[in-house]
Amino acid sequence: MSSPEPAVHHHGPPQGFIRKHIFSLDHKVIGKQYYGLALVAVLAGLILSWLMRIHLGWQNAPIPGLGKLSPTGAPGNVMTPDYYLSLMTMHATLMVFFVLTTAPFAAFGNYLLPIQIGAEDMAFPRFNMMSFWVTFVSFIVLILSFFVGDGPPLAGWTSYAPLSSIGGIAGPGQGTGQTLWAISIAIFCVGQLLGSLNFITTTLDLRTKGMSLARMPLSTWGWFVTSVIGLLAFAALLPACILLILDRTAGTSFFSSAGLVVNDQVLPHSGGSPLLWQHLFWFFGHPEVYIAILPGFGIISTILPAFARKRILSSRAVIGCMVSIGFLSYMVWGHHMFVSGMNPFSAVLFSVPTLIITIPATIVVLLWLGTLYGARMRYTSAALFCIGFVSVFITGGLSGFFLAQPSLDTYLHATYFVVAHFHFVMALAAMFGIFAGTYFWFPKMFGRMMNETMGKWHFWLTFIGVYCVFMPMHYLGLAGNVRRYAAFTDNYLAPLIPLHRFISIAAFFVGAAQLIFFFNLFWSRFWGPKATDNPWEATTLEWSTTSPPPFDNFGGRHLVVYHGPEEYGVDSDTLEYVMQTSPQQIKTVSGE
């Protein structure tokens, strides 16, 4: 085995339908499977958010059909407060785990990372297939909780103990539903660990000739850093979930404190620590935020130069910032716990790195803005979503400054201010990254172009809509509106109900605007105009192959890389570009 052939692709092109499309070892198929899973999950999460918004705007409005889904949760089609919390828990769990983790990281990463580094497949195709199917099983287990016992858990996506650890006595959905939640997340961890293992090894071992680390596209860097974060974060969450399951099913007392009296019943647990769960969870949970957003960083940093037709201001700075964000993301988990009863001194200890982590984030944002400055932009849908990403990320980042201070957070904690913050900085930003990636890579993935007119309508309606939904939440939070309330009956909250109705209407509007996207996606998949190999005149390796790429990505060729990933505007007059695989020498124009 001394031949220098890549030690990949032990498997030939599959023949049967099942090996080709279902239990496929091909990273491209697996990437699409992850994307499909994310689409299903995002649709479910969107419907749940609609149900919640209906309830928040109009407390006793019956929702036709809801009583069928859950006779106990919505008797007479009117949602109970408990069921509201259940829907909220499921909305968050679906969105954070099955959309924000799977779509930007697992879906795009699987599809594009091997191609962008010139590999034929992932390092461990079999693990890769298992990664998806394990994640799929985890999704099914989570969805099952809608149909068992009292329905889904109501402890939120953070599942704070002891609410989550003492079993069905804690409330509807806290029996079987919460157990299924914990099992589902534990399985999900396994799937993502397998995925991260693949991403890291592939990036380190399977780069083609000339593809040095510095020449990797920033999107690949994003996925690489994310996979390192994911590897350690999910490895920390998995044992926490196991302990939670044991607390629930085996009578241990890891998180359930002593002397609990719930529903007039004394519980047998001895001295467990609810705070311990919070520490374990947020040690995963905060890096998870960056698992959701760093692929977006990479995607934006790759797409933006392609439409600005110039290099990003400093790709090395972007790489450095992503790595330092990844590193710092492990030191800030306590900022979720300022009011948890944790020692106030440690609150300061967590506040400082939280403020420090804004520095690399700010640098990246400034680099994006600097790249936009003076660019002759091509305003495609993908480019618009990139700019939208920068916008919502800045908006969400700014509210982060307030929340990072323990003194301010004491007031703002668990209000709608926090809801606004994390939706902007994590959820929306990551979603905009997903949209940008979809519009940009759809031609490569499916060989057809998406409709630009629909794409632009989708962008503007979404962009305006999400600001209408989440901007007023800052005000709600400052006004003292606590999150996770199913109804606003207190005197001081009643005047805020009209604003909630406005948000609800805007949310219906934004959700409806997504139908344009779904329609565009499916229509273009079958009837869109055929895409050329390089419709955006981009430089990275995926554009050096056909659309869609052949089974082994490059048709048996072993590409050689000569340039960095963003040689745009090498001649400032023609905005011309040089592919990474092009052996041409680039003249450095002074002033570039």
Binding site: M1, F124, T252, G272, S544, V570, E576
Partner: protein
């Protein structure tokens, strides 16, 4: 190597210059191949990297559990101190011995004719290596069996999973380590079954990968034993 055999590997191939890249740039810039090619070792065996990634993830999981143990012991006075079953120390010896046998196996493997460069001779060494690998797996299984006996010992004393946080952590840590070790046995079985008959350099490297994992499990156990013994 599906469909990759036609082209000699790493022949620089003229990239697709059919896009406008060629038209415009080609006229303005000299076509000159200049690259500081940073070749990545293409005979890399991904498992050799991947195993260290796996080691990192497993270390993280156990670090998470150990920190939970330390915190949990500190927050409440319900920590029941108990004597560790003595069989654990015998088990430790067994596991250490298994690492030794695995190393003997690897050395025997390296003495095979195709690696030692000698014309003839060491087929005996090869079959010895085979036996040493089987011995390693047997010792691994004995270790797991010993752990089960340790659990029975504790259970006989009335210490179950939910009796006390100390016993909870004992069962969880030993069970998870045992499961990982069984995974190691399965890995060695894979080496034995798939790779032994036609063993070459690649196979030798896969054996190396398996032994990284095995020694890591060994070291992890020593670490866990120290924690459990000092915090029992």
């Amino acid at each position: 190597m599906a469909s990759t055999t036609k082209v000699p590997p790493h022949t620089p191939i003229a990239p697709d210059l059919t896009s406008d890249g060629e038209r415009v740039i080609g006229s303005k810039l000299r076509v000159q191949s200049k690259t500081t090619a940073v070749g990545v070792a293409h005979n890399a065996l991904p498992a050799e990297t991947g195993i260290w990634v796996a080691v990192a993830a497993i270390s993280m999981s156990f670090a998470s559990l150990i920190s939970a143990l330390i915190v949990r012991q500190g927050v409440a006075p319900d920590w029941l101190h108990f004597q560790l079953p003595r069989i654990l120390y015998l088990n430790t010896g067994i596991l250490l011995a298994s690492s030794v046998t695995l190393e003997i196996c690897r050395r025997g493997f390296d003495r095979r004719p195709e690696f030692s460069g000698k014309e003839s001779g060491n087929d005996e060494a090869a079959s010895c290596a085979f036996l040493w690998l089987c011995a390693t797996m047997a010792l691994g299984l004995f270790f797991v069996l010993g752990q089960v006996m340790a659990w029975r010992d504790l259970a006989a004393k009335g210490l179950f999973l939910s009796s006390s946080p100390s016993s909870s952590f004992f069962y969880v840590l030993t069970a998870l380590h045992g499961l990982h070790l069984l995974g190691g046995v399965a890995g060695l079985a894979y080496v034995l079954y798939r790779l032994w008959p036609g063993a070459g350099l690649q196979q030798r490297r896969v054996l190396g990968v398996a032994s990284v994992y095995w020694h890591f499990m060994d070291g992890l156990w020593i670490f866990l034993l120290v924690i459990l013994a000092s915090r029992k």
